[in-house]
Subunit: 186 residues, 2 copies
Amino acid sequence: MSRQHYLKAGEVAFSKMDKVSAELLALTYGSLVTQLLKDKEEIESVNVQLEKMGYNIGIRLVDEFLAKSGIGPCQDFRDTAEVIAKVALKMFLNVTADVTGWNSDLTACTLVLHDNPLNEFVELPASMAGLKYGELICGVIRGGLEQVHMRVSCTFVKDVLKGDDTSEIALEFKEILKEEFVDEDE
Amino acid sequence: MSRQHYLKAGEVAFSKMDKVSAELLALTYGSLVTQLLKDKEEIESVNVQLEKMGYNIGIRLVDEFLAKSGIGPCQDFRDTAEVIAKVALKMFLNVTADVTGWNSDLTACTLVLHDNPLNEFVELPASMAGLKYGELICGVIRGGLEQVHMRVSCTFVKDVLKGDDTSEIALEFKEILKEEFVDEDE
């Protein structure tokens, strides 16, 4: 389906959601990151933990997405990436992204975020250059996709918080997961 | 001013806010509480830490409140409690509360929450009976009021998560804080 169609679907889906102030989310998320920075010795462990937390959130949010987005099965990974960029990000974070930088196999692309509400109020000191502040979002994408049997890798590669011009998430398709059927008689 | 007036002011203020999905806030907050439960040995320390984090958030959010709520100085503490219940809670959490149970001095009351979006997806096991799950909200109220020179105490006293009929926050006025003027010549 067209980008225009997905943009519209994202608007409609967001209108159906219960909402709270973005500032409250930003500051609550800031408390979480600060707590992890206190707990962990290595910044890389904070990135890993944020991604894991996001993964667990994505597993829960996917039901909400399937119920309220009105989006059916995607035709291919390009389609999937557009749905994440225009519908899923809109529905939960109220932002959209451009999908760019496809590789020749169409298995890897970049999501260029138009905005990131989690960054509100945040300034990273130079000592935090290794922190992937919004990495929870990447975990949410990975967790959500895994629930629909698609394994991906997903991580921040640029961030305006670090002085980059844009905030960019690298998204790469890994494999389709087989559904496991459990025979209850065995 | 009347409750009706404040309800309307709350609606208008909320309409001006940037918004995100309430589910995303609920799950992000859940990650924060879970992390603190892992870090701290005593549940009471988790309550204290959540309240402190909320306090720091309240200090930041009060500017947003003053800028967008259109609410001027309150006449008395009854007025303050109504503004919290009908305008501030609405503006950030998209809920309102009833103000009840005033003491005879009109210095202490109870906020009965009509809903608590932080509770979404949450089930507390019996071992967590001591946890004040939403205590961050109480900290936000205390921090916000302290920025306008009012010291209060604020804590959850009932919670539907623990099987109570309602979720209730006890709010008590302590003192008006004097503004400290620093003479830069000294």
